[in-house]
């Protein structure tokens, strides 16, 4: 198994506050990796370091082979990012959004044209190409946002609570897309508050107060904590947290 994310004692301090404390883990190519933790555990800080947006205080990490201190621009070309809070421009049409994001990643007009056609077919959104994104139902918007985030064929895609608020069927269709991308070799790094979704990951890590306290497959974690489901595993570990908040 080929690691695409490698971290060793990766740490971020803000003054006296250690937001992320000596994170050491690997994520493999094509893996669906669930990055779980309570609000305030340090997930966002860790993710920002992995995406090359925040310089670590100490420790090492390479993302798709590039160093998080020196090669942040290279990292950004090799990753995709999608969050529920911000993903697409509401006042651009579906095809304008695709063109905009693909353009940012330096794709040629020919590539963008081909990709747009491919994406619209895959999502069965051909008839909505000229629709403003704001008019799409949330479930479609999120599927489109995910597809756009991997349009430039990144090695890794970071998904920050991608499925918040969508209906149960759309949420499962979204996971179908995730599985297809992983099958093609894209590594999926995902945070979620839906614990049933944690079960869909190959492995999950659970962060409490800046530290990774558990990292294994969902079935091994359930065995280890004698829990019926991932929600109970999470509750058991995260309720000991002393930090409160985001």
């Amino acid at each position: 198994m080929q690691p695409v994310i490698i971290t060793e004692k990766l740490t971020k301090r803000f003054g006296n506050f250690i937001a992320a404390n000596e994170l050491t883990f690997e994520v493999y190519k094509g893996e669906i990796f669930g990055f779980l933790g309570a609000n305030g555990a340090g997930k966002t800080t860790a993710m920002r370091m992995l995406c090359g947006l925040l310089t670590p205080s100490s420790g090492k990490a390479t993302i798709a082979g590039f160093d998080v201190y020196k090669q942040t621009e290279k990292i950004k070309q090799k990753i995709g990012y999608m969050s529920q809070k911000f993903s697409l421009y509401d006042d651009l049409t579906v095809s304008e959004n695709i063109r905009f994001y693909a353009g940012i990643y330096g794709m040629s007009y020919q590539q963008i044209r081909d990709k747009t056609k491919e994406l619209l077919e895959e999502l069965q959104l051909q008839s909505e190409a000229k629709t403003l994104v704001r008019e799409l139902p949330l479930g479609w918007k999120q599927k489109l946002a995910f597809s756009v985030s991997i349009a430039h064929d990144p090695d890794i895609v970071f998904l920050d609570e991608p499925t918040g608020g969508v209906d149960p069927v759309a949420r499962r269709q979204f996971w179908d897309l995730i599985y297809h991308a992983a099958d093609r070799g894209v590594t999926i790094f995902v945070t979620t508050h839906y614990m049933d979704e944690a079960e869909y990951c190959n492995r999950v890590s659970i962060m409490v107060d800046g530290v990774i306290v558990a990292l294994d497959s969902p079935s091994n974690l359930k065995k280890k904590y004698a829990a019926a489901n991932m929600e109970d595993v999470f509750y058991e570990l995260a309720r000991k947290a002393t930090r409160k908040g985001d």
């Binding site: 933790g37 309570a38 609000n39 305030g40 139902p137 949330l138 479930g139 609570e161 918040g164 608020g165 969508v166 209906d167 149960p168 069927v169 759309a170 499962r172 996971w175 599985y179 508050h193 839906y194 614990m195 049933d196 079960e199 869909y200 190959n202 969902p218 079935s219 359930k222 489901n229 991932m230 929600e231 999470f234 509750y235 995260a238 309720r239 947290a241 409160k244 908040g245 985001d246």
Partner: protein, 303 residues
């Protein structure tokens, strides 16, 4: 305590229908859940009931008062916590509380018993500005402000969205305690598992009510036999899902955590396991299971 009769609401000069002929009622001291995804119409409904938005058609009452005619009385007897944090970011916790208390002609002390449990958790930070609080603390401050005048009815619009499992459990514990103090609560959520914590629920999608009942009754009304399918093999849940969906007798199949929930056409259920074994999932097993509210929601969406 709350009644809605054929409430209808459209936006954009009638182009977008937010609520279609909504009718249901909430009883005194009930913990009532409005369960549905974003865009279902939950916030429009809350805004109509809290007199912040006028319906196109239909009538509604809160605590016996009409939402149009008696809006002033309603505003005095309800507490409303919108989904979006709406307190004053540049006032401290204490200033926000005093501000809302004085608007309602009361003080924090007067109804302290009601908010004590919640307030004590944020009290150490009472000099901090609201804008600098974490999500969990904002949520608690919002709840305190909504309760400060001891309302008869509490409206909570998606209070647990984006909140982790531990804080969500704590929040629902708080709601149970408030209910015991005689406050009627209407709470909305997109988390289907929270439905079980309500006395009664309304399932809502695209502006329409799919069903109103107790969670137990809604589960009992699931019209088909539901099966749970499991396999511990490392090929994972997605292969199992694809294989099961390719089985000719399958009617519906969705992933639910580490298992699949499926219904079958006619009596083809018993053929599935041999079929899955032939596909390589040699340890696949199946049993009849009791549906969850989420199963019911998915089923009602198809109708």
């Amino acid at each position: 305590m709350i009644t809605l009769n054929n409430i209808h609401k459209t936006y954009n000069k009638g182009l977008v229908t937010a609520l279609k002929d909504i009718s249901f009622s909430v009883k005194d001291d009930e913990l009532f859940g409005l369960i549905g995804p974003d865009g279902a119409g939950k916030t429009s409904l809350f805004r109509i009931l809290t007199t912040l938005l006028l319906a196109d058609k239909g009538t509604a009452t809160v605590n016996g008062f009409d939402v149009v005619k008696d809006y002033k009385q309603i505003r005095n007897c309800v507490g409303y916590m919108p989904g979006k944090f709406s307190l004053y970011q540049d006032l401290t916790i204490e200033e926000n509380l005093n501000f809302f208390a004085s608007i309602f002609g009361t003080t924090l002390k007067e109804n302290y018993g009601l908010v004590k449990d919640i307030y004590e958790q944020i009290e150490p930070f009472k000099d901090r500005r609201a804008g600098q609080l974490s999500g969990g603390m904002k949520q608690k401050l919002g709840l305190c402000c909504a309760l400060i005048h001891r309302p008869d009815v509490l409206f909570l619009d998606e209070p647990t969205t984006g909140v982790d499992v531990v804080s969500r459990r704590e929040f629902w514990e708080m709601l149970k305690k408030l209910k015991k103090q005689g406050i009627t609560i209407l709470v909305s959520t997109a988390y289907m598992d929270e439905a079980n914590l309500c006395d009664r629920i309304a399932l809502i999608q695209k502006g329409q009510i799919l069903s109103v009942d107790t969670p137990e009754k809604i589960i009992e009304s699931f019209p088909e036999q539901l099966y749970g399918i499991k396999s511990a093999q490392s090929s994972g849940i997605f292969k199992l899902l694809q294989d099961t969906r390719s089985y000719p007798g399958i009617a519906s199949c969705f992933a639910f955590g580490d298992s699949l929930h499926a219904t079958f056409n006619n009596s083809s259920a018993k053929g599935l396991i041999p079929y899955l074994h032939s596909k390589g999932s040699t340890d696949a097993s199946m049993e009849t299971i009791r549906p969850t509210v989420e199963d019911c929601f998915i089923h009602l969406l198809k109708e």
